[in-house]
């Protein structure tokens, strides 16, 4: 579609400098108070089982999660593990059945109205499908400037336009004049997602909630959107919740990884610690199952242990202990008779809810 533009502006796409995308990671930029926090959040939905009987589905089952400015936290796990429910809790779309969310350490209890709008000045959501999240009848100018007008009602027209242009350029839509009077249908998926990001940045947010922001995009443009989020973390000092099923991209982009299973965060920690030293058998399964270009056919590297039987998680039953136990290759009797333990590494803040940590000296039991 835009090949003619490419001829006209061959330099419009930046070639990023080779650098370690996570170099900022080691510096302890974590503030004492997380910008956004979920504390022991439970979300129950009422559904029906295959026989039509009502059942309680525990979409979230006691989740603790903190987001810090300047950090990207990835949430990985299978469908139904509760990833999107967390984003929806943070976006005030669902209300926790119990537990609370805190913005800058203060509990949030708003539903609608001015208080909700004030909350959205700090927390913005980027959706999965940029073909559905932008109004196809509006120009990019009005899609982005509407948010500016709503949240900064005192700005004059010239200032609104100026800010709209700045936002587009922040999202690498440069020069902004080339895009501002187009409609979403004129843009590619990657460009639309960048418009959605520009719109989210309009309020100068503290937190971006990105639910599978690249899964609808082609491989060749996915990385540019990931790199954009990675750069905004630093330039805007924003906290990003990156929800994905692609653990390789979580490793590429994030500072911390949270692994979800059956409505719980079963393992969380610094990205490289999760990737190179996973403790929970589910994390190990996830890593083993993900495609890895280094294990190409003919490489002589065994791909993984073959998985010939997998069952989806059942969140509706009332159980003691671990929901993964019936799929777990190393389950012990106490996994289903005792409450889930919580262990933390003595070397970093890698935590895991699994008895496997008990046998290593690196982990101490917290609860």
């Amino acid at each position: 579609m835009n090949t003619s533009d490419l001829h006209a502006h061959p330099s419009s796409e930046k070639v990023p400098q080779p650098e370690n995308p996570r170099e900022a990671r080691s510096s302890p930029s974590r503030e004492a108070v997380p910008v956004l926090e979920a504390r022991d959040v439970h979300v129950h939905f009422t559904g029906t089982d295959s026989a039509g009987r009502p059942v309680t589905i525990r979409a979230l089952d006691g989740v603790d999660l903190t987001l810090h400015r300047g950090q990207i936290s990835a949430l990985v796990g299978e469908s139904g593990s509760g990833k999107t429910t967390i984003a929806r809790i943070f976006a005030l779309i669902h209300k926790p059945t119990s537990g609370e969310i805190l913005l800058d350490g203060k509990p949030i209890r708003v539903r609608g109205g001015r208080a909700e709008r004030a909350y959205y000045r700090h927390v913005q959501l980027i959706y999965q499908d940029p073909f559905a999240s932008l109004n196809g009848l509006k120009k990019i100018r009005s899609i982005v400037s509407r948010v500016v007008k709503i949240h900064f009602p005192r700005l004059g027209r010239a200032r609104i336009l100026e800010r709209t242009e700045q936002l587009l350029e922040k999202a690498n839509m440069t020069p902004s004049a080339r895009y501002i009077d187009r409609y979403p249908t004129d843009l590619s998926g990657g460009q639309r997602q960048r418009v959605a990001i520009a719109r989210a940045l309009a309020v100068d947010p503290a937190v971006l909630l990105a639910d599978e922001p690249t899964s609808m995009l082609d491989a060749s443009i996915r990385l540019d959107v990931l790199n954009l989020l990675g750069d905004l973390r630093r330039s805007e000092n924003v906290a990003v919740l990156y929800i994905t099923h692609d653990i390789a991209s979580a490793r590429y982009l994030s500072d911390r990884i949270h692994v979800m299973y059956g409505g719980k965060v079963v393992e969380a920690g610094p990205t490289e610690s999760i990737i190179s030293a996973p403790v929970h058998p589910y994390t190990q399964l996830l890593l083993g199952a993900a495609p890895d270009p280094a294990r190409y056919k003919g490489s002589g590297k065994p791909t993984h242990e073959r998985i010939l039987d997998a069952r989806p998680v059942d969140n509706s039953s009332d159980i003691t202990g671990c929901r993964f136990a019936d799929r777990c290759p190393v389950a012990m009797p106490k996994c289903t008779t005792e409450d889930l333990p919580l262990f933390r590494s003595t070397e970093n803040d890698h935590t895991v809810q699994c008895w496997q940590a008990e046998s290593t000296s690196e982990y101490e039991r917290l609860s």
């Binding site: 070639v15 995308p21 491989a219 443009i221 490793r251 998985i307 010939l308």
Partner: protein, 373 residues
């Protein structure tokens, strides 16, 4: 969850190549063109595609949206409907039962019926859209089995269906279930089992695991590979996920703008890809076990098939493009271990011509992005 360590013999690249060389040709595609007829003009979604598939080979086809990969798969199975039409080329199929090779392009629907399911079967992305929602699973199996072999009794067909389901890890008692009573992963595996019902020589798979989770995807792939080892069918596997193809494919064809631009073994495409697009696509997938470094996407957008550039369709996005790349379409030529359609590597230009192209005289006109990949 059962984690079963299957003692796999890990073939080396040389072993894969010699296995393919020893294997007879199953499908020979020559000059295949597929057009979509639109008011704005014909869109050539597959342009002059040549492919050779051997018996028992797993051929991966990778490409982005609108690269023509699904169009190619539909054309191979003669599944396309208007406005898509095969406008040129042949698909020569060599049956394993020793009968004469046929050109699938020339067959009528009635003649094709003899090939569907028994010689060529298809697995599509959406199982729920492929399975009949109001017919029990067992009947869908026995229907296929008995249509293609009327001499098989109902009870026998039922037993075969049970065996097929068990092979993909689904309990035989699910034969009485309706498709919607199965999970998404199970539906997809049931569809794969169904595609194997009549012992085909070739299974065409169009993104069969895209809609499921990574663990379920792995399980489905494992079932496919285990069944493939046992039954020996060939597979054409279409997906955008190059990482996945590198793990499962004997050879991979990369498509761009309706053309095959490179063919090679997984090992060669991983380590020494010859086409800049292949390298760029491979770099678009972050590694899981290798060290992380800053990667970049491919600048620009995929080509508009209605308005293709005059030369190589990747040239406008290519960091290594030379003046000739914008003028002439490179041929897909045989190179050592595979094929390439890039002037830099396909041998179409002499070394001298290449040197002139790479360092054009200063007033020589075109000067695109000069930085090498």
């Amino acid at each position: 969850m059962t984690l079963t360590t299957v003692p796999q013999h890990l073939e080396t690249e040389a072993e894969i190549i010699s296995r393919l060389e020893d294997s007879p040709v199953l499908l020979d595609v020559r000059g295949l063109c597929v057009d979509y007829v639109t008011e704005a003009g014909n869109i050539r979604a597959c342009d002059d595609v040549d492919l050779t598939l051997r018996r028992g080979e797993i051929l991966g086809v990778a490409g982005e949206s609108a690269s023509g990969k699904s169009t190619l798969l539909n054309a191979l199975g003669r599944l396309q409907r208007m406005p898509a039409a095969t406008s040129a080329g042949e698909i020569r199929f060599h049956p394993t039962d020793g009968t004469e090779p046929v050109d699938l392009v020339g067959l009528t629907e009635d003649e094709l019926a003899a090939y569907r399911w028994t010689k060529i079967s298809v697995v599509m992305q959406s199982a729920m859209a492929s399975l009949n929602p109001v017919i029990r699973l067992g009947e869908q199996f026995t229907d296929v089995i008995r249509t293609h072999n009327p001499r098989i009794r109902q009870a026998e067909a039922r037993a075969q269906a049970a065996e097929l389901l068990t092979m993909v890890g689904i309990s035989a008692d699910r034969l009485t279930a309706f498709p919607f009573q199965l999970s998404g992963g199970m539906q997809q595996r049931a569809l794969i089992a169904l595609s194997l019902a009549c012992d085909p020589d070739l299974v065409l798979m169009d993104e069969p695991t895209t809609a499921v989770d990574v663990v379920m995807q792995r399980q489905i792939l494992d079932q496919v590979l285990a069944a493939q080892e046992r039954l020996g069918f060939a597979v054409v596997f279409v997906t955008h996920d190059l990482s996945l193809l590198l793990e499962i494919s004997d050879r991979i064809a990369i498509m761009y703008g309706g053309k095959v631009v490179e063919v090679g073994t997984a090992a060669r495409l991983h380590s020494t890809a010859k086409h800049p697009y292949t390298r760029a696509l491979r770099n678009a997938f972050p590694p899981l076990s290798e060290p992380v470094r800053r990667l970049s996407g491919i600048p620009g957008s995929p080509p508009d098939l209605l308005d293709l550039p005059p030369g190589c369709s990747f040239a406008p996005r290519c960091a290594a493009a030379m003046p000739i790349c914008h003028q002439r379409v490179p041929e897909l030529r045989d190179i050592d271990q595979g094929r390439s359609a890039c002037f830099l590597t396909n041998g179409e230009l002499s070394e001298q011509e290449l040197a002139v192209q790479q360092h054009p005289p200063l007033n020589g006109g075109h000067d695109e992005e000069g930085e090498a990949l």
